[in-house]
């Protein structure tokens, strides 16, 4: 496979890899590094890629493992790195602010979930994978995926209801 073929093969799912990495690692820069790392790994496997039934699922599995490794190595170290995105929030109208605030609330709630639930929410609700694919990527069975997903969604709901009706009830 030459570079051009590889780029066209990778193009449809490289954003998904990035978003999954960002879900786990939180910081954009870390996620970009992870994505590049994953793509390099794929490129190095170049010749054996045809053997995989779904390169995308394979890439997602690599991403998951890579990011979990990253997190583990960071945690093992003495320094705890808190990932943040140091972007300046553009000042905006009241409503926009309110909207983005409730959206960032959702993000914050999702990021407090356990890693596995985060992965599942990311793949189901954002990337819209079928349960079968998720089970394959995460090396779990489908029922477990459903249960974890349900739990994650309910956690998000609890938080959202709490913030939504804050000061009312």
């Amino acid at each position: 496979m030459d570079q051009h073929e590889f780029v066209t093969l990778v193009a449809p799912f490289k954003d998904k890899v990035f978003r999954l990495a960002k879900r786990l690692l939180v910081s954009t820069e870390e996620a970009e590094d992870a994505t590049q790392e994953v793509l390099v790994k794929l490129w190095n496997k170049n010749n054996s890629l045809e053997a995989y039934s779904s390169v995308e699922a394979f890439a997602m599995t690599i991403t998951k493992n890579y990011c979990l490794d990253q997190l583990k190595s960071k945690r093992a170290g003495n320094l705890k790195i808190v990932h943040n995105n140091f972007t300046d929030r553009q000042p905006s109208l009241q409503q926009q602010l309110e909207d983005s605030d409730s959206l960032s609330w959702v993000e914050r709630v999702i990021n407090t979930l356990p890693e596995q639930q985060r992965l599942i929410v990311q793949m189901r609700d954002i990337e819209q994978y079928e349960f079968e694919q998720i089970a394959k990527i995460l090396e779990m069975n489908e029922t477990a995926v459903r249960v974890a997903l349900s739990r994650a969604r309910k956690t998000i709901r609890t938080y959202m209801t709490k913030t939504h009706s804050y000061g009312i009830g």
């Binding site: 990778v10 590049q36 909207d99 409730s102 959206l103 997903l149 939504h164 009706s165």
Partner: protein, 148 residues
Amino acid sequence: MESDKIETLIEKYFQGETSIAEEKQLQDYFSAPNVAQHLEQYQPMFAYFSQTRQQQFTQAVPLQTKKRNVAWLSVAASVVVLLGVGTYVYMNDNSSREETMGTYDDPEVAFRQTQKALAMLSAHVNTGIEGVQYLKEYEVAKDKVFRK
């Protein structure tokens, strides 16, 4: 879409039992402007999902052929080193051979060259001595002070 149908879908959704198609229905419902008031609390969730889906990986795909480059570099480097060592050894060889063979074949020329070399040497030695001449002044001055 009627909100009671959405409500049942939402219930299914939180049980993790909706299909992709049903979840898309929910997405569509919540991204439309007229969401029923009691369902508004779920809106940010779905808005966040569809917003996050837009995120893109903006970096270039790192398709370097690093490995091959490194290999070529090492080959090039070793060639340069070999050439360097080779020429050094070759030059050394040449100069040592010249030394052993002697520099001049003609005795006349050799004599003249030797004379020149000796003249140069003595001239330099003389300049050195001139420099030392000053020391004599000290000697004289010292004798004046410490008369014996």
